[in-house]
Amino acid sequence: MIELSHVKKTYRDRTVLEIDTLTVPQGETLALVGPNGCGKTTLLRILAGRLKSTEGSVKAAAPVLYLPQKPYAFRGTVLHNILLGTHKKRGEALRLLEETDLLHLKDKKAASLSGGELQRMALCRLLVRPCSLLLLDEPTSACDAAGTELLLGVLRRYREATGCTMVLSTHTPAVALNTANRLIILNGGTIEADGGPQTILRAPESDWAKQFIAGWRI
């Protein structure tokens, strides 16, 4: 569950995010889309408690898990990375690695993984842990089509098993449309369109949103 009201984030005198109200019921999956710099990362970091909003109130369910936009490898092997702080979950870690096609890399140093492999590992590292709010910043940006499919499958199962609320940002239309039951288009820090993906596709709320979706070419 998420409740934002009158949230505003400014750097010096520049407003990068301004959201009047946003309510996300428990269990919903929300996709954030919009051009570079529209405020997706800012919003996710505010929800994750990593960034304080300049104004307004933010309520979010806990515990929260948050995947930063830039995947990061800790020292040590892939398996060590995944089990950090949760050593009893070995079986579950192995299952996740299997499902994301990383099992053969489990004893490799995490720092030596390719971009797409690292991104999959970063997601496994989150998903061995339970949460009620899952925040993912461009979780498939470095993955090819096959890698993206694997990740979406794992995400779907995690969501079903935990009933968590999920918010993810993406530049890939298919990711937004296949995972989310709600779509928000951000533009210059404000919400340009908000609703069911099919509704928005059929009848965008504004000209800007219409043009943005036309760029998707689906």
């Binding site: 929260v64 898990l65 930063p68 990061y72 800790f74 020292r75 950090l84 702080g85 590292r125 925040l135």
Partner: protein
Amino acid sequence: MEESFRKAFELLLSRDPELLQILGVTLRMSFFSTTISCLIGLPLGTLLGTHRFPGKGVLKKLIHTLMGLPPVVAGLIVYMLFTHYGPFGRLNLLFTVDVMVVAQCLLITPVVIGLSSSYMETATKHTIETAKGMGLSRGRVLFLCLSENRASLLSVVLNAFGRSIAEVGAVSIVGGNIQWKTRVMTTAIMLETNKGKFHFALALGIVLLLVAFVVNVAASWTVREARDD
């Protein structure tokens, strides 16, 4: 110069008992000064570098000022604390190796805090963002920040060791340069210089440098180990 080098090697090879004793005191003192100031300074420096709180700016300036604390002043402060009538006079520690370690920690801990905090400020951004995102506890995040950067932090430790082994002002005030007890390499060098035995003093200096070199080689070897794992 040539004579000093010859003397230095003669000294080392002769296994002169007094020289060995002085070397032993020096290494013992530097080991404890370095260890204690790093055990205090590295976690504090990491906390300072990775957290925001009111008064942080003032605290940083204070630490940077303390980084420039003249050793004789540190020695004087500790001397006044541990002298017979001072607040810790009952401990009877003045002119012991223990109190030399205390004085050196006063000097070196701010350096360790200052260096590690400015390094950690920039180096731990992704570590913290990722670890907090995983819901890890504060303690574990701190530990991760330290262990992720252990190769770079080792150079802070070496800097601390270098300062400790080379320091003379504080240890001569609180240690008193007592033969067979609190005399270390630097105070011995000063004594020989004052006596006019320049070649012998320089020989001692060369021995000191050799010891520092061996420690540095051992440490850089550890760094390589840490990088490879």
